[in-house]
């Protein structure tokens, strides 16, 4: 009895491994990216096209930019799409990535309840708006997950000369952008969001854009291939193909058109050809 069970078990494990042997390998690309690109649905539109064209299977892991780069530093991902420029530069300098290419941009916006208890509406400078939120001790919901958005937010606090950590009005969710906006919406707090995720949720939440358009709120996405010389397991060819796909003219056109119909405004602005003029082409203050 026990022996037959053991045999059954071994058979199971072997069959799974066999299944693995067929499916895994050089046809798989592990693609670590930010939650904003998944939450907006952009990837669902782009990736099937790439897979069909090339035969690769893209395994999209949607995490914050910080975690995506941490995966890259361990060679656990093949290619990254991230939006945390300073951290990216560090990542490149330490030799973990190759061929960093600009893909697209949009901008960050400060969103909050329509009655705006902190009174930041239409403030030009993001740092000033943050200062005012701190001064009025208005609830602020932070990602708190080392994502690109969180890093940008920390930078803005620094600009404002405020240390929000451990303040009662400052709460960290540790969740993705969509979920963090949902939390802010429930608690009627302020939060920093990329415009794309905000627009994709706009119809379902009460929060509105209160401040945006500041130069410092530019949000740029880069694609980085993980350095295959550092990690032998990395799928270098697949990463390169995917990276090329993201900056190809046709894909760039699709990125520019994405969401325009559904949300009334483009969510991302393609940049592969022309480097971004600050907030160029972007709707700066639309409510």
């Amino acid at each position: 009895m026990r022996r037959s069970l053991t045999m059954l078990l071994i058979g199971f494990v072997l069959s799974f491994m066999a299944m693995q042997g067929v499916t895994a390998g050089s046809r798989d690309i592990i693609f670590a990216t930010t939650t904003s690109t998944q939450d907006t649905g952009l990837l669902d539109e782009l990736i099937p096209i790439f897979e069909k064209k090339t035969g690769y299977r893209v395994k999209t892991i949607a995490v914050g930019s910080g975690q995506a780069m941490a995966m890259g530093e361990r060679g656990e991902a093949d290619v990254l799409l991230v939006h945390s420029p300073e951290a990216e530069e560090k990542f490149m300098k330490r030799g973990f990535g190759v061929n960093r290419l600009i893909v697209m941009h949009n901008d960050f916006v400060i969103i909050g309840p329509a009655n705006d208890p902190a009174g930041i509406r239409s403030m030009k400078k993001a740092g000033d708006a943050f200062k005012k939120i701190a001064a009025t001790k208005s609830l602020f919901i932070s990602r708190g997950d080392k994502s690109g958005t969180h890093v940008k937010e920390q930078k803005l606090w620094k600009e404002a000369g405020v240390d929000p950590e451990r303040q009662t009005w400052y709460q960290q969710t540790g969740l993705g952008m969509g979920q963090s906006i949902a939390v802010a919406n429930e608690k009627l707090g302020y939060t920093l969001s990329d415009r794309a995720t905000y627009l994709s949720l706009k119809g379902k939440i009460d929060l509105v854009i209160l401040s945006g358009g500041d130069r410092s709120l530019l949000n740029i996405y880069h694609v980085i291939q993980v350095n295959p010389k550092k990690f032998s397991g990395v799928n270098a060819a697949g990463a390169k193909a995917f990276s090329n796909f993201l900056v190809a003219p046709l894909t760039q056109k699709m990125i520019g058109a994405f969401g325009a119909k559904k949300y009334g405004a483009a969510l991302f602005f393609p940049d592969a050809k022309t480097p971004p003029t600050p907030l160029g082409g972007g709707p700066l203050m639309e409510h």
Partner: protein, 231 residues
């Protein structure tokens, strides 16, 4: 309130119209959690029976370990399985991370102690003299174990249900080792979280309702078997 109603209507719309993506997600959930439960049953029932029927030093300690394992937090399991199977981990060469197989492994680690623990309790609750009686009737050791298992089949089915219930509704480990990849490792629980993040609350509720229906159906079938045979 509207939202809940919308969600339930959406759920039925998705089920009735047979939305291919939802069907795929549902089947995948069933396949992964079903495989994990099956493997866990093999491990759990044999291990539980073995521990119940034998006496050895350290047995009490082992039972405590099993009972603790029944409450293993899925995220902790997910974390350790990830560390083992990622590219730089000891089993990295198998390329298991972000595959359904990885999810089966993680879910097996979660379900096996549950099934072992319930089996152990069930086998120990059998009257002690039953064993002697069976042996006295000339049964071999193997036949004796088999008879005891058949005797305990009702609680053993409970063990299977508990294991299945634990893994089909689990999310922490599934999202860590599976990665919620569309059409490949996206299961009902991870899809629900993602749709919530996207603000598609109706779809999220729909997926939740489907998950409940699925769990109920499987348990109903097992209960029918359990109660039917019990008569």
């Amino acid at each position: 309130m509207d939202l809940i109603l919308d969600g339930i209507i959406e759920a039925f719309r998705l089920i009735v119209t047979g939305d291919p993506e939802v069907i795929d997600i549902t089947l995948l959930s069933l396949r992964i959690s079903g495989s994990a439960t099956l493997i866990s049953t093999c491990i759990g029932v044999s291990a539980g029976t073995a521990v119940a029927l034998t006496r050895f030093p350290g047995r009490r300690f082992l039972i405590s370990v099993i009972n603790t394992g029944m409450g293993l937090p899925p995220v902790v399991v997910g974390l350790f399985v990830t560390i083992f199977i990622w590219r730089s981990g000891p089993l990295g060469s198998l390329g298991l991370l972000y595959t359904p197989a990885a999810m089966v492994i993680a879910q097996t680690v979660i379900a096996a102690p549950i099934i072992t623990g319930v089996t152990l309790a069930a086998m120990q609750r059998l009257p002690g003299k039953l064993r002697l009686q069976i042996l006295a009737l000339g049964a071999t050791r193997r036949q004796m174990v088999w008879l005891l298992m058949t005797e305990a089949r009702l609680p053993l089915l409970t063990a299977v249900m508990a294991g299945f219930g634990g893994v089909i509704s689990e999310i922490g480990a599934s999202i860590m080792v599976g990665g919620n990849i569309k059409g490949y490792t996206r299961v009902l629980t991870t899809a629900t979280v993602m749709e919530t993040g996207r603000g598609n609350f109706a779809v999220a509720i729909a997926l939740g309702v489907i998950l409940l229906i699925l769990a109920f159906t499987v348990n109903y079938i097992l209960t029918a078997v359990q109660q039917g045979r019990g008569k």
